[in-house]
Symmetry: C2
Subunit: 411 residues, 2 copies
């Protein structure tokens, strides 16, 4: 028997259509959740879902679903997100949603009888452009509380309440998404690797075994500002020099003692922030990640201790605030073994891989078994305008997703 | 004979009046040149000059003068500036302008006959809020060219031409200030120290012997950005880590080898500047200062070489652009000896001191002998809302200025 395959030309065509929504004159695609571009993409997806004969639904968190009913209402779900970082690429998230759409559409076209119900999902604000990553999937899985959202300000300035209202939602109803949720049996996500490993090894499919947990801190060294020309070097409490000292030592510590973990300082603001003034304050973001829960805890402790030590040695103060955190997850063997077996049956070369980036599937893991399939990211590029994929890898990834959905939806 | 003294209560009162102009709700005083607050301060100064019976004049660069004519048109000048940094203090610049005003007013009140003409001066944009420090005094001394200004953009955004036009000036005429200049025989400036030395030694008067020259660079390390979770630490070209490495080494180099010189990194911008993205670019300001011309040149060379080495070692690129520079100056013995003798005659304790900060007098040194008198800055604070002075120090400084002007204006 010939196995069912996706219509790759149609999938590729739709990725190109979607990439035209939110093009940023400064480069790439800027489609943060509930921006005008995102609202346009949501409308586009709704039309695609309905044109495919699937049942469209949006929940209280703005998550979008397309349903293909089976004999039982229990749902096997696949999806990802359509939002992007500012000046992001065209594949992060999109390949997962549009591949799921294509899978369900092909199954519908063939009038295949399903025992279980299939749903594609597109989750709100995976990228955390508003108030932290995974707003939609956190709401969907009951991991958000109204108190966290009601007075939340977004990094763009306006309160979350105002932004979601323009999209026809109510901030106080976002946590209700969990109550509206059907019973979910499994969640599958196809995503770009966002790293260089698969490309370097020329392997089209990565089967994810663990997803890194992370700690996001907003942190500050506070020293003493002063005139750059009049305070001798040896009398300074320069907040930036403390940050530089900390950054170098922390980097070395992770390289030496926490192999496979990462530490990133991605944003720095010095205050007052002028050519001729010694910085009295150095605000910075600190991103710690690990595939292992215990290591993540130790890393966090040791890094914060180091920061306090650097501050104490140099006569400054150090403050930090936890902004966001996720826990590492392990993909269940039941799903992983099925994906291995299917890859072998389809003749696709694959490798096991861990994910340093967070994904909606990591959040879904709180309520059901999840699986995460990677396709290569040429040059390891992601979250940048130059994000790429090889069409043949996507075709394999989407066909693997299709077969996995078919299996999970039968008996 | 009783020596002529300033009216200190009046001077203090006027400092308080001026401090009410440009109060910033975020703290201190924000009175950058040609802001609404600065225009108000200019109007206020004009009224004070005219009320004192002095002749008001504004030149093509917006520098303001108040003249007390002597028998000859050659001018002995004293002054400073009324503009402030954003969220600055109430004394930096202001004490020099208002003390000069008080000195001329007292001489006028006593109807003292002068051989030479006295002028007070308030120079435009000493703080460089628009397009680099000393716009007014550079124009006044013929150190600015029209080409540098015509298409200049200010750090606030709008072109310089637009900003000065709102103040009734024309950008192409700014360099003409040098042609309108009378013959200047000497320039004296009273200023706060902006450092901790005089306060620590409890000495009310600092007689400046040298003023530091500086180099302002806008510089960048360029590496490669990437996802914080997916690029292993050892494969990164993290622009911030290179900057941290450079900053620490450069700091140590100055401390070890260039005593009394300074290096300051006051502003840092990481790009793209997000929690979860390895910075591909680290833009920063670099401020180098020295009292010695040759040392400044060597320091500049060695620091830039170090930056290139750090970049090369880590596989990144380094770029820099010179944004502004001034040369160190030595205060002429003729002026310094006169100020010493007068301080002794007045019974004021003084010490010789060097200035790490730049001053209008440094720019005026290109056309005439200059003198610079410091009064203590409690806690070394300057360019901050908390900037302070002791009234008794100001009284001494202003009386020293008065005696020096009287001497220089007679024969």
């Amino acid at each position: 028997m010939t196995e069912l395959k996706i219509n790759f030309e149609r999938l590729w065509q739709e990725l190109e259509e979607l990439a035209r929504i939110g093009q940023d004159p400064r480069g790439g695609i800027s489609r943060p959740s509930f921006s005008l571009a995102d609202l346009e993409a949501r409308k586009w997806l709704k039309e695609k879902i309905e044109a495919a004969g699937l049942t469209y639904r949006q929940d209280s968190a703005g998550n979008i679903f397309g349903r293909l009913a089976g004999k039982t209402p229990q749902v096997v779900m696949a999806g990802s997100h359509l939002d992007t970082v500012v000046n992001g690429g065209r594949f992060d998230g999109s390949v997962g949603v549009l591949s799921a759409l294509e899978c369900l559409r092909r199954i519908k076209e063939e009038n295949l009888e399903l025992y279980r119900t299939l749903e594609l999902a597109s989750f709100t604000d995976e990228e955390g452009n508003l108030v932290g990553d995974f707003l939609g999937s956190r709401a969907f899985t009951g991991q958000l509380k109204e108190e966290q959202l009601k007075n939340a300000r977004t990094q763009f300035g306006p309160p979350l309440a105002e932004i979601v209202e323009k999209a026809g939602l109510k901030v106080e109803n976002i946590p209700l998404a969990a109550r509206e949720r059907p019973e979910i049996l499994a969640f599958l996500e196809l995503h770009i690797e966002q790293g260089p490993i698969l490309e370097e090894e020329e392997i089209p499919i990565g089967l994810v075994t663990t997803i890194a947990g992370k700690r996001y801190f907003q942190a500050t060294f506070v020293g003493r500002s002063g005139h750059a020309g009049t305070i001798p070097m040896e009398l300074r409490q320069d907040a930036f020099i403390s940050l530089a000292d900390f950054a170098l030592r922390a980097n070395q510590l992770v390289l030496r003692k926490y192999e496979d973990n990462t530490l990133t300082i991605g944003r720095v603001v010095l205050k007052p922030g002028s050519f001729s003034i010694i910085p009295g304050e150095a605000d910075f973001t600190l991103d710690l990640r690990s595939q292992n829960r215990q290591e993540l805890e130790e890393l966090e402790k040791e890094i914060l201790k180091l920061a306090r030590e650097v501050a104490a040695t140099r006569g400054l103060s150090f403050y930090q605030q936890l902004v966001d955190s996720t826990e590492p997850i392990v993909v269940p063997g039941s799903i992983l073994n099925r994906l291995k077996a299917l890859s072998e049956r389809l003749g696709y070369d694959y490798r096991l891989i861990s994910s340093g980036a967070g994904h909606d599937s990591q959040i879904l893991a709180a309520i059901c078994p999840v699986g995460l399939i990677f396709i290569p990211s040429p040059e390891g590029l992601s979250h940048v305008p130059d994000e790429k994929i090889n069409p043949s890898d996507l075709e394999k990834g989407a066909n693997l997703l299709l077969q996995a959905l078919l299996e999970l939806a039968s008996v």
